[in-house]
C-alpha cells in the first residue's frame, strides 16, 4: 500500500514536531518560569471527591503509561512473556482494568470540577482542553483494547519497531500502515497531547519528586559556604 501524504504528516512530521515542541517548551518554561511548575492541586478546596477522582485516575494512567513504555523499550521480552496465553491474559486484563480505572477517575474529576464552584474557579481553558483530550485518549485506548485485543502483542510487533524507526531518524511507516483507524487515531492524539503538554499543567509529571527519596530529612541553605566542623 502506498504511503500517503497524510500518513507522512501524521506519523513522521507530527511526532518530530511535537517532540521538538515538548523538549524546547518544557525546558524553556522550566528555565524562564520555574514558578509556574506546580501540581496545581485543588484538594484544598474540595477533599472528598478529590480522592475518588484523582486516586483511581493516577493509579490507572500510571499503570497504562508504564505498560506502553515497557512495550516500547522491551518488545522482545514482552513477546516472550506473551508466549503463554495465561500470561498474555494477565497482561491484557491488567491494562484494561487500569484503563477503565483511569476513565472512572477522570470522569469523576471532570464532574467534580463542574460541580464545585470553588474548584471551577481555579479551572482555566487549558485545563478543560487537557481534560477533554485525556478523556478522548482514554476512551480511544479502551476502545482499542476491547475491539483490537492482544495489544501487548501487536504493540511490540508493530508500534514498537515504528517508534524505534523514528528514534533512529529512519521512519518506516510500513509497520503501522495496515493498523486499524482506531489505533491510528490513538497514536495521533498521543502526539497532540505531547505537543501541548509544555503549555499545560501536565508539566507536573516532569517534576515528580525523586531526590526526596534519597535526601536527608532537613535542608539548610547557606549564603556563604558552610564551614566543615571537625
Amino acid at each position: 500500500m502506498p504511503i500517503t501524504f497524510m500518513q507522512q504528516f501524521h506519523f513522521v512530521v507530527l511526532p518530530y514536531l511535537v517532540m521538538l515542541i515538548f523538549f524546547l517548551g518544557t525546558i524553556f518554561r522550566y528555565r524562564k518560569a520555574p514558578y509556574t511548575y506546580s501540581s496545581l492541586s485543588s484538594q484544598f478546596l474540595e477533599n472528598e471527591r478529590h480522592f475518588w477522582g484523582l486516586v483511581p485516575f493516577h493509579y490507572g494512567i500510571v499503570t497504562v503509561l508504564a505498560g506502553h513504555v515497557v512495550a516500547f523499550l522491551l518488545p522482545r521480552q514482552i513477546l516472550a512473556w506473551n508466549s503463554q496465553p495465561l500470561r498474555l491474559y494477565i497482561l491484557e486484563i491488567t491494562a484494561l482494568v487500569a484503563g477503565l480505572l483511569a476513565i472512572v477517575g477522570l470522569v469523576g474529576s471532570i464532574v467534580r470540577r463542574l460541580t464545585f464552584s470553588k474548584v471551577r474557579t481555579v479551572t482555566n481553558t487549558f485545563d478543560w482542553i487537557v481534560l477533554s483530550l485525556l478523556l478522548f485518549q482514554l476512551l480511544s485506548g479502551v476502545y482499542v483494547a476491547v475491539f483490537h485485543p492482544w495489544g501487548s502483542a501487536w504493540f511490540s510487533a508493530a508500534i514498537s519497531p515504528y517508534l524505534w524507526s523514528l528514534v533512529r531518524f529512519n521512519p518506516d511507516l510500513n509497520y503501522i500502515a495496515m493498523l486499524p483507524i482506531g489505533v491510528k487515531v490513538h497514536i495521533i492524539m498521543a502526539y497532540v497531547i505531547i505537543g501541548i503538554a509544555p503549555f499545560t499543567r501536565l508539566v507536573h509529571i516532569l517534576v515528580v519528586p525523586n531526590p526526596y527519596l534519597w535526601r536527608r530529612p532537613q535542608v539548610v541553605r547557606w549564603y556563604r559556604a558552610p564551614k566543615e566542623v571537625a
Binding site: P34, Y35, Y37, S38, S39, L40, S41, S42, Q43, F44, L45, E46, N47, H50, F51, L54, V55, F57, H58, Y59, S117, K118, R120, T121, V122, H204, V207, V208, P209, P211, Y212, L213, R215, P217, Q218, V219, V220, R221, W222, Y223, R224, A225, P226, K227, V229
Partner: protein, 496 residues
Amino acid sequence: MNVRSQVSMVFHLDKCIGCHTCSIACKNIWTDRRGTEYMWWNNVETKPGTGFPTAWEDQEKYNGGWEVEDGKLQLKSTSKAKTVFNIYHNPSMPTMDDYYEPWTYDYQHLFNAPEGPDQPTAKPISMVTGELINIEAGPNWDDDLGGSPIYAENDPNLASLSPEQRAQLSAVERLVLFYFPRICNHCLNPSCVASCPSGALYKRGEDGIVLVDQKRCRGWRMCVAACPYKKMFYNWNTGKSEKCILCFPRLETGQAPACFHSCVGRIRYLGVLLYDADRIEEVASLPKEKLIEGQRSLILDPNDPEVVAAARQSDVHDSVVDAAQRSPVYQFVKTWKIALPPHLEFRTMPMLFYVPPMSPVMSSQENGTISHVSDNLFHDIDESRIPMKFLASLFGAGDESFVRYALRKQKAVRWYRRAMTVGDVDMPTAERMLREADCSPDEAEAIYRLTALCTFDERFVIPPMHREEAIQMMEDPLTHKQDVGFGFMSGPHRGM
C-alpha cells in the same frame, strides 16, 4: 559542637491584650493577594478555644509533627515511602473548611441597587468564587469566647482536665481566657522541611529562618499536613505553599518584623540564640518528659568562652555572637526559665517561646473581704482559674512543674516590685517569695525591667544579617576585573 545561630522569639502572654494589630500588620504586608486571603501567618487565638485552623492542636485529626517509633524520629503524616503513594491525594490535608472561606461584601450593590422600599445592603460574597455566601467561620471566629460551650469546649488542651476544672473554666460571670498570638516557630527540627518532596523548604543556615523556595515548590502540600502548628498555608490560586518569612527583608535591614514592630502591648521580643546543631535529632527523640530540659540544653551560653570559640570555629560571625550575648530571648528562656515552647511534644523544637499568663485575679476571698495573704504565698497559682494542667498542656509538654516555676517567679517579681513601689506588701514577705520562687533581687529587677520598662532596642536585638557575605556564593568579583571589569563572572569572549 556545631554552633549555629537562630533568630528566636519570646511572646509575653501576660501582656497580650488580644488587639490583633500584629495580624493586621502582617496581612497588609504579605497576604493580601488572591489565594492568600484566608492565610494568617500571624494570628491571635483565644484560649481556651479551638484556634485557627479549627482544633489545630489535635494531631489525631491533622497528623502533624513527629513521633518516636522504635527509638526513631518519624513524621506522623508522611514518610518517604508513603509520599510515593500519597502524592495524588494527601490523606492528612486540611481543607478550606478547616480554616474559613474568605469573603468581602458586595459594596457596589449599595450604589447600583434599583429604587425600592428598603435600604440596600451589601451582602457577603466569597473571595474565592465571587458568589453570595453564608459566613460560617472566620479567622478569629471564637475571639473572646473563652467560656463558650460551642467553641472553647472543643479546645484539645482541655482533654487532661477534670470535669470540675472544666466547669470552673466556663462558670458564668467567672469566665476566664487569655490570648495566644502565633506565628511560624522557625523550628530547629521543622517537620515541614522534612516532609517537602521537592526540597523547596529550607532553613537558612545563618539565621535559622524557615522559607519556601517558590520556584521549587510543586504544590504537593505535604508541608501543610506535616506542620503541627498549621503555619504552612497552601495558596490555592498559584498552587504553591507559603508561610511566615519572619519579615526577613525587614530583618536584613535591621528592622523588627512587622508583627513585632506593631505590637501594642509590647509583648514581643526577638534575639539570637546559639545552639548545637549536632544534637538536634538526639534531643528531638527524647522521651516527652525530658523534652523541655533537652531543648534548653541545646541552647548554648553565648558568654561561655568555650561556646564563643566553637561559634567562631563554626563560622558564626562575631557580631552575631555579640547579639546573642545581648539577646532578651536568652534571658527569658535560659537564664530566668520563664519562657516555654508551645507543644514541644510535637518534637519540632519550636524557637518561639511563651511567658505563660497569670490568671487575672490574684486574691482570695474570705468572709467577703479580699485577702492577699495566705500561709502559702503562691496558693493562687495552683488555684488559679486557668488550671495549671491546661497551661502545662500548651507550654509544658504536659508537665506542670515548668509552668508553675514560671508563674511563681512572675508573681514573686510582682510582689517584690509592689513592696518597693506601693508598699502595701512588706519587704520580708516579698523577699521570702523571691527565695521560694528561685529568684534573686537582681534577677527580679532585671525581669521587671525587660517586662515593664523595655525599650525598642532592648526588645529587639537584631543581629547583622551579613548579606554582604552572600557574595561568597559567587566567584570572586575581582577575578576578571583586568579583562572585562569588576564583577564579571566569566572572561572576555568574542561571540558565544
